[in-house]
């Protein structure tokens, strides 16, 4: 990379930082700090999406003609780094990273015109209906049925792990439209309104005592066939396309690096008895080891980005980045918990709520350590469990 390119990126970074600093409200920042899972608190995440939307920065990876920024992959990484440096809430991925690409890739012009604007602006919030009680990582065994009835489908069955289903007005779902052929062949990709009669949403309480996931039940829910994206029984291709859409989209490192710096800074502060945790050799070594691992994550992500030729997919490296990034994130959560120690023990539901005005009993960081640790266990479960990813990676490398 030439040095004038470097300085262009520096200019870009400064421009991003200036905007973010001026645009983020106190409440949005509070929500960013109090984000203890991949999903930021709903209300503030949507408020922040609106601000980015107005700036034109809400969907950096989308093609420019649909509202993308036209940034290079390096600029996109810098944007994420700067958002994380300010601890801003990440835009919820459902609209922009999940359903948007499906509509862009497989939707008709009419569908694009109808759905994309609301996804970008956040006027709509889309939830995901993929997993089912009997099918977690094994999507081919989906059972939720969409039976043909004239111009409509009639939906029966249920979905689970639907994040923020209780906040959503729309859903994109994989449903079974045929039981013939291979199990994954009879699946279609469907858009639906959450206020359709016959849909019930039950929030699930998570380990941190908060509802984030939902179960969604369908009883003779009627959805127009016009809401299907792509061909009937070809929903699998749509879902696969979405997974590959954001090439080089792995940004664990962009999150971990500034988070690590905050953790280290905490350890450099003196506590009540004028002791700095960082002067404990064992803590300092653990920080040093974590920094090595984070650096490995960051440079592996940047290497994959830098070496990708135009139009190429990262292939098995996508599995590798998922495993590595999620597990280093979990290590980070463990060290953060260890550093907080007994200060992390108290449940503080009210103080955790954004805008509650209730102060943490000790420091905010201590209050967040336990919910973050607990929630981060999900990182090796969601988005293709790390067991599935390891098999994918090994098989791809070995060619079996």
């Amino acid at each position: 990379m030439m040095s004038n390119q470097l300085s262009e990126l520096d200019t870009f970074r400064r421009e991003v930082r200036d905007f973010l600093e001026s645009a983020a409200t106190d409440e949005i920042r509070e929500a960013g700090r109090k984000t203890t899972s991949v999903f930021a608190p709903f209300k503030q995440a949507m408020a922040w999406q609106k601000i980015l939307y107005n700036k034109g920065w809400v969907a950096p990876a989308w093609p420019v003609e649909y509202g993308g920024t036209g940034w290079t992959i390096h600029q996109r990484y810098i944007f994420v780094e700067e958002c994380n440096r300010l601890e801003l809430p990440p835009v919820l991925p459902q609209n922009i990273q999940m359903v948007g690409p499906a509509v862009i890739g497989f939707g008709s012009e009419e569908q694009k015109a109808k759905y994309l604007p609301g996804m970008l602006s956040g006027d709509d919030f889309w939830c995901q209906g993929y997993s089912e009680p009997g099918a977690g990582s094994d999507l081919a065994s989906l059972k939720c049925r969409a039976d043909s009835d004239g111009d409509d489908y009639i939906l029966n069955g249920s979905k689970t792990w639907t994040t923020y289903g209780h906040h959503a007005n729309k859903m994109f779902a994989l449903v079974r439209t045929s039981s013939e052929g291979k199990p994954q062949q009879g699946i279609s990709f469907l858009l639906l309104d959450m206020n359709t009669p016959g849909i019930e949403v039950h929030p699930i309480i998570g380990l941190d005592g908060e509802p984030e996931q939902c179960e969604v039940f369908f009883t003779d829910a009627r959805v127009p066939k016009a809401n299907r994206i792509g061909e009937e029984n070809k929903g699998w291709s749509v879902a696969k396309y979405v997974l590959e859409f954001e090439r080089g989209g792995s940004t664990f490192g962009a999150w971990l690096t500034p988070a690590f710096e905050r953790l280290r800074a905490r350890c450099q502060q003196s506590n009540e008895s004028s002791v700095r945790l960082i002067d404990d050799v064992s803590i300092a070594r653990k920080l040093a080891k974590l920094e090595v691992d984070i650096s490995a994550v960051e440079h592996t992500e940047k290497r994959v980005n830098a070496n990708l030729k135009h139009g190429e997919n990262p292939g098995p490296m996508a599995s590798l980045l998922k495993i590595l990034g999620s597990e280093v994130m979990q290590q980070y959560s463990e060290l953060q918990l260890e550093i907080s120690g007994v200060d992390a023990l108290a449940q503080q539901h009210s103080a955790l709520h954004v805008g509650s005005g209730i102060a943490a009993m000790g420091s905010e960081a201590d209050m967040l350590a336990m919910p973050y640790y607990l929630n981060t266990r999900a990182a090796s479960i969601y988005a293709g469990s790390n067991e599935v990813q390891r098999s994918l990676l090994a098989k791809a490398v070995m060619g079996v």
Binding site: I205, S273, E338, D343, N375
Partner: protein, 370 residues
């Protein structure tokens, strides 16, 4: 060396297990935690009637004078059933009173054993990071007694207790153990639930005026009593962890045998089998060190073997808890299934009584001289 319960201990354990099974179905427990109703006076009275509160106390003090493994058996069943009532911290605190030479202090034991009153041991502080000899609390001598200032953190069962045992340094730098009435003026309680639903509080002492008789142990005797209480806490906590881990293994095993993916029960997947084997291995390591440590209580090796036990507890509790969640997938991340509750209880145990890192540091110092 012995490594298992005697017949009598087993019989006692079985009877307690039935009590726990009858009173601690998961859904009821979940609702109690949600409503912050984590201390049930009826249950407490029943536990007292079952003799659970008087096991490791002499008959003179009103107890049953039974071996320590009886208390371990209780702890195992508490762990297996995720019991919320603070039997273990209160009993360990009671044993500290019993070991003191202070008749005034010992006079509270009868009420403790009968379930009429509870006592909490307040020693953890944020900046002590597990080391009971590090305290920022101060005790200043006045003409007419003493004045206590400072803070204690994560004091178990403090909301329910009528008395606190508090560790502090006096102006000469000596450790002192005090017995205080919870209602004594100048004490502020900030009560809360721990992440696992157990009751605890932070205590703040603002110019608490005390008579000389409040001191129940001083200097080296105070240090010895406190270290013993912490060693005993670690042993009963490890027994509780074993109960929780055993149950979590049973739950996980049932899930792996039942749940199918890609057309096969999860139990048939080799990498999950190996993970399960590793969970069993760390469970057995903990069980072995538990029996070893319980036999060192009261000996010169007490602190070392308790520290080793806590190190192993850190490893075992974390591995089994994390992997049980992982093997369950999404459902392991919910409050609906008890897996998460075990995981949280095991995580809290990692943090209490000194983390693995603290005990490794302590053991490392012993390597210098052994």
């Amino acid at each position: 060396m012995f490594y298992q319960y005697s017949e009598d201990q087993n019989a006692f354990r079985d009877s307690l297990r039935r009590f726990v099974q009858d009173h601690y179905d998961y859904e009821t427990r979940r609702q109690r935690v949600e409503k912050s109703e984590v201390f049930n006076t009826g249950y407490w009275r029943q536990l007292a009637e079952l003799g659970v509160l008087g096991l490791p106390f002499s008959e003179a003090d009103g107890g049953l004078d039974l071996d320590f493994p009886y208390l371990m058996a209780v702890a195992e069943e508490i762990g297996r059933g995720l019991v919320l009532e603070p039997v273990l911290p209160v009993t360990v605190a009671g044993r500290l009173l019993a070991a003191s030479n202070n008749d005034d202090a010992k006079s509270h034991l009868a009420a403790l054993i009968s379930g009429e009153s509870l006592v909490s041991l307040a020693w953890e502080e944020s900046s002590s990071r597990g080391n009971p000899l590090l305290t920022q609390c101060t005790l200043i001598t006045r003409a007419d007694g003493y004045v206590l200032n400072g803070k204690k953190q994560a004091v178990l069962a403090a909301a329910e207790s009528q008395f606190y045992i508090v560790s502090t340094r006096d102006s000469g730098g000596d450790l002192q153990l005090l017995l205080l009435n919870a209602k004594h003026s100048g004490i502020t309680q900030r009560c809360y639930l721990l992440a696992d639903g157990n009751s605890a509080a932070d205590l703040e002492f603002n110019n608490v005026e005390l008579p000389a008789s409040a001191i129940i142990a001083s200097a080296s005797q105070a240090e010895a009593l406190l270290q013993t209480a912490i060693s005993e806490s670690i042993v009963v906590m490890a027994a509780e962890a074993i109960g929780a881990i055993d149950q979590l293994l049973v739950i996980t095993q049932e899930y792996l045998l039942t749940r199918k993916q890609f057309g096969m029960p999860l139990a048939m997947f080799q990498s999950l089998q190996h993970r399960f084997a590793d969970m069993v291995i760390v469970a057995e390591k903990l069980r072995s060190l538990l029996w070893a440590a319980c036999q060192q209580l009261g000996s010169n090796n007490q602190e070392k073997s308790a520290a080793q036990l806590k190190v192993q507890l850190g490893e075992s509790a974390r591995y089994v808890g994390q992997q049980a969640v992982q093997l369950h997938g999404g459902i392991g991340m919910t409050d609906e299934l008890n897996v998460g509750a075990y995981f949280k209880r095991l995580t809290v145990m990692e943090l209490l009584c000194g983390q693995q890192d603290y005990h490794l540091g302590k053991l490392a110092e012993l390597e210098l001289v052994s």
